[in-house]
């Protein structure tokens, strides 16, 4: 049987549903030693801001049960250095490149998108309105329906490429945010970003992270992510990119059933950077075994 692994996110066609999540692949060079990027659906860059960001002081990472907390603070090289120094490497690959954009003001989101959209190899934008680890912007936008609507609308106006809004799970009703994104011209949403969490050292009584709180990721958050994907899928007609604790191909299938058109692999890249390529192969085997001709038929195939 000829298995069709390709999926569509709005006008963006991917050869398979496996994307690498922002902040877990840098700008592609390190992970390319372990996984053939050309075999993947897409890669999403580390969040880019207009100017370089230094990020938070250490300690930035701590392990939690079946998960990890991070407070990197959007450390990145900035749009200018990205275009000059990172793009040439990425041009060697035939994989859709999605730029994740983080900003402190609405104007900065617009300016970043406007600057990057001219670059041909960038196929779409993922707008990070939900970083929990920076003081300005980030989650403040992600918790504010009006801000999400305005950012989507303003970014939409400066690019013809697909715009994906990355949603925060740290809200009581995520579908409302997906709806705001859709109504203002977004092509898709990514769900979910990390959950705000913290951890303490019981001897010193200090938080383990210098930033006090961080974003929780890893298998611990998978059930939450699935519920958020399902909520959006049931209530809003917009393609969803499912994210949250995917550790193997079975998790990918689960996210697709719950409503995802594609998925992003994040924390797993830190543990086994060769996993994404293997998962693509295993998805094909699953489809073969289950006589599924098009993997896209799994999307929102839940029976409630």
């Amino acid at each position: 049987m000829n298995i069709d692994l390709s999926v569509k996110i709005g006008s963006l066609k991917l050869r398979n549903p496996i994307m690498l999540a922002s902040g877990t692949v840098g700008y592609g060079n390190e992970i390319s030693e372990f996984t053939d990027l050309n075999k993947l659906g897409a890669i999403v860059t580390k969040s880019l801001s207009l100017k370089p960001r230094k990020g938070n002081p250490p300690q930035r990472i701590t392990e939690t049960p079946a998960g990890m907390l991070n407070a990197i603070g959007l450390a990145n090289v900035g749009v200018e250095v990205f275009l000059k120094e990172k793009i040439p490497f990425l041009k060697k690959f035939d994989v859709p490149l999605i730029c994740n954009i983080a900003a402190s003001t609405i104007e900065e989101y617009v300016e970043c998108t406007r600057t990057l959209t001219a670059e041909e190899i960038i196929k779409a934008f993922e707008i990070n309105i939900s970083c929990p680890n920076v003081r300005e912007g980030g989650l403040i936008f992600g918790n504010d329906l009006n801000a999400v609507a305005k950012i989507t609308d303003r970014v939409r106006a400066v690019t013809n490429k697909p715009v994906i809004i990355k949603l925060s799970p740290n809200v009581s009703y995520i579908a409302a945010f997906a709806k705001a994104a859709k109504e203002n011209g977004a092509d898709a949403v990514s769900a979910i970003n990390t959950l705000v969490g913290t951890a303490f050292n019981i001897i010193t009584r200090k938080p383990k992270l210098q930033n006090v709180t961080g974003g929780l990721s890893g298998p611990a958050i998978k059930p939450v992510a699935l519920a958020k994907v399902l909520e959006i899928s049931c209530e809003v007609d917009i393609p969803i990119i499912g994210i949250g604790g995917i550790m193997d191909w079975k998790d990918v299938i689960e996210f697709m059933i719950a409503g995802s058109s594609a998925v992003q692999i994040g924390t797993l890249n830190f543990i086994d950077p060769s996993a994404p390529g293997k998962i693509v192969k295993q998805l094909e085997e699953y489809c073969e075994k289950m006589a599924i001709e098009k993997i896209s038929s799994l999307t929102a195939s839940y029976i409630l």
């Binding site: 390190e30 370089p52 990472i61 990197i72």
Partner: protein, 253 residues
């Protein structure tokens, strides 16, 4: 860089609750340099989730040795790996020590488990340079001298060797150090490294230091292990990729 499953050959408790894990990993043992590290997944389960970084302690033919004490769940699992079981290794990672250079005597300065990278370091330099090892600890049980040469010991409580910290011991032997063309190689707790940095600047000694930081991936993608640079103000260096070994003058300790 490799990701591979390496069979455990032996786990030895050397002394002072310090473990030595011997694995067979010819792909890595043939290329790894002193001061480089390995990021190890202790089990296939999702908890503990992340890999744990260990410096390579020693290399002998096809074998790698890791030195550790039991700090938590991960090291506890590792200490009890039965012979013949496998561990998942990612490595070699990081830059390692620069053994070349215009010096005649390598001066090792280590505190506690900071001694871990130096058996392989010593093995690699033997016959090429003179080696003096200044090894410190709080008490005699914390002084690790496994496979080190020409050892001078310091304990803060005086239970073994010189009474005081290891940098005070260097001060005491300053005439000896100044009489030789030395380069210092160090690893240990932050207070020791801070004192060592002042000592090296005061006496104009060249020093490479192996640093430590909590990290997830070990090869630069998670950005979890920043270290402040003294040369570039608006940018952090990464312990895993730019280090873990730095010229002590180049980083804020």
């Amino acid at each position: 860089m490799f990701i591979l499953n390496a069979p455990v050959e032996e786990t030895i408790e050397i002394d002072n609750r310090i473990y030595l894990l011997k694995v067979n990993a010819p792909e890595i043992s043939s290329v790894i340099k002193p001061g480089q590290f390995l990021n190890i997944r202790v089990s296939e389960r999702v908890s503990p989730l992340l890999r744990r970084p260990f410096s390579v302690c020693d290399v002998d033919g096809e074998h790698l040795y890791l030195m550790f004490n039991i700090m938590g769940e991960g090291t506890n699992i590792l200490a009890h790996k039965p012979k013949g079981s496998e561990i998942d290794i990612l490595g070699p990672l990081g830059n390692g020590f620069n053994l070349d250079g215009d010096y005649e005597t390598a001066v090792i300065v280590a505190g506690g488990l900071g001694a871990a990278p130096f058996p392989y370091f010593t093995r690699s330099l033997i016959g090429k340079k003179e080696i003096i090892s200044f090894i410190g600890g709080r008490s005699k049980d914390d002084v690790i001298t496994y496979n080190l040469k020409n050892v001078k010991e310091a304990t803060e409580d005086g239970s073994r060797g010189f009474k005081g910290n290891v940098v005070q011991l260097l001060e005491k032997d300053i005439e000896l150090l100044k009489s030789k063309k030395i380069k210092i190689f160090a690893c240990g707790p932050t207070p020791m490294l801070r004192a060592l940095k002042s000592f090296c600047i005061k006496n104009i000694f060249e020093c490479e230091v192996s640093t430590e930081c909590a990290m997830a991936c070990g090869f630069g993608i998670c950005q979890g292990c920043p270290i402040e640079s003294t040369t570039e103000q608006e940018k952090y260096l990464l312990v895993c990729k730019d280090g873990p070994v730095f010229n002590i003058k180049d980083v804020v300790i």
